[in-house]
């Protein structure tokens, strides 16, 4: 058996030691502990004195003259019985002793009586001990949500600001009042980088818009390029060509053609490439691209000249690609 003697339990071993009840391994363990913790035994000058002074003789217990002094073994049985830890064999032996010595009944009653009854005690500072989870006020939750949404919007908007995809000059997003532009100016003054394309367009020789070209543009029916923009759940946008059978250099768009986009920049990319830049016969003078978002018209894109005149416009509810000869 291993004896784990610590500063918290050594007194029990010490008492056994003082009484001479510590033997064998227990005694060796205690002596080793005593040697390593001399400070715990500083107050004890002479163990022999302690034994003499503190261990008093057994109290004199008076019994009726006709009764024998209870022997230690039977006393242990009485305690074990009252403690509920007596073995079956011991209980039988105790029963026989009780029959033989009826005076033991009194000792049994005493042992059964020497038990403390727990009285409920109310600890006065219970609430002080308790932990309380941090409660976030409702208004703070709403405020946090607004801040997060604002941050997301800013991040989302930032994509436009940081994606100069189609113009080295200017490309910016601005929230502008909703309004449906009724025309887009088209000029023969092409982008500098588009000059190569101009050269392969017969109608744009001499870098001037031909009348045919202008007429062609003028004659473009608005409806050919009209479509409906819709915001779908999970930021998927859809562009449905409403009434078109329009063929350009990129491809043919038929009524009912549907394109899906997961972001506004993606949509702009599509529109620019498909509808503007990749049409070699159309050259635009433009200075800035403005995208407007508001609750009534989900998306508006304005391509403007440096003098703020509109070059190209897209609107969300119904895209009208209007073309007009440049002044």
């Amino acid at each position: 058996m291993k004896f784990d003697i610590t500063p918290y339990n050594y007194e029990a071993y010490y008492l056994d030691f003082l009484e001479g009840n510590l033997q064998g391994e227990a005694l060796r363990a205690f002596l080793a502990f005593k040697h390593t913790h001399p400070e715990l035994f500083d107050d004890v000058d002479d163990e022999a004195d302690i034994v003499n002074n503190t261990v008093s003789p057994e109290p004199q217990v008076s019994y009726p003259t006709n009764q024998l002094k209870i022997n230690e073994k039977i006393e242990d049985w009485l305690i074990a019985y009252s403690e509920g830890v007596i073995s079956e064999k011991e209980q039988q032996q105790l029963g026989q002793e009780l029959k033989r010595h009826p005076f033991l009944q009194r000792d049994l009653q005493l042992y059964q009586a020497v038990k403390l009854q727990a009285v409920p005690v109310l600890y006065p500072n219970t609430e002080k001990l308790k932990k309380h989870p941090v409660l976030v006020p409702v208004w703070l939750k709403y405020a946090a949500a607004i801040v997060v949404l604002a941050g997301l919007f800013r991040l989302f908007s930032g994509k436009f600001l940081t994606t100069p995809a189609y113009s080295p000059n200017a490309y910016h997003l601005a929230i502008t009042p909703a309004g449906l532009p009724d025309m887009v100016f088209i000029s023969s003054d092409a982008f500098p980088e588009k000059k190569a394309e101009k050269s392969i367009v017969p109608s744009q020789k001499n870098n001037k818009p031909s009348r045919t070209k202008q007429l062609y543009i003028d004659k473009l029916p608005l409806r050919r390029h009209s479509g409906v923009m819709a915001s779908l759940p999970e930021t998927v946008m859809q562009y449905r060509v409403q009434n078109a059978n329009y063929k350009n250099t990129v491809g043919q768009y038929r009524a009912g053609t549907v394109e899906h986009f997961t972001s506004l920049p993606q949509f702009f990319t599509f529109m620019f490439h498909k509808q503007v830049l990749k049409q070699p016969q159309k050259q635009f003078n433009w200075h800035s691209l403005t995208a407007a978002v508001n609750r009534f018209t989900p998306v508006e894109v304005y391509l403007k000249n440096s003098d703020s005149s509109t070059v190209f416009a897209l609107t969300g509810k119904r895209f009208l690609f209007s073309f007009k000869k440049n002044k």
Partner: protein, 162 residues
């Protein structure tokens, strides 16, 4: 252990722990301090203490703190027997049995008092008391038996009539 379990432990065990420590130290302020320290340590070790062993942990901590308190205040008694002021006194002492037993309890050595309180107040088994006091089960049994003898002899010495 989450906040809910901890607070439940406070509700269920703070009173019992306070009663045990108060009975040992006889000082309300000290008992309050020790109880608070026990629960503070429990909260600090909330991830290590098995929720099923919370009571045992608290009483073990309280036992150690009580021993520390006695050691600091030089109140450890090495006597294992009841001091009898007047040997063989048979003067009857009146009063309720529990009052008399509590009076006798105060005369027991700390270790015997501890094991008796844990046994009678909290209903711990010898094995559980052994875990709390870091004694062997046999030692616990010996101390409880000795304590019972002392308490019974005290009743006999005052000629208490059941």
């Amino acid at each position: 252990m989450d906040v809910k379990t901890y607070n439940k432990a406070v509700d269920l065990l703070a009173g019992n722990l306070f009663r045990f420590v108060l009975k040992m130290t006889k000082n309300k302020t000290t008992a309050d301090d020790i109880v608070q320290e026990c629960f503070t340590r429990l909260w600090e070790k909330k991830h290590q203490v098995n929720p099923q062993k919370v009571k045992s942990y608290l009483f073990t901590t309280a036992h150690h703190l009580v021993i520390d308190y006695f050691r600091k205040n030089k109140r450890i008694e090495y006597s294992d027997t009841l001091p009898v002021t007047q040997q063989g006194s048979i003067e009857p002492i009146g009063g309720d049995l529990q009052d008399i037993l509590h009076e006798a309890l105060e005369r027991l050595p700390v270790i015997q008092k501890t094991v008796v309180l844990l046994r009678d107040y909290e209903g711990y088994s010898y094995r559980e008391i052994a875990e709390i006091t870091r004694l062997s089960e046999t030692q616990v049994k010996v101390y409880i038996f000795r304590a019972r003898k002392q308490l019974k002899n005290y009743l006999v010495s005052i000629d208490y009539v059941l």
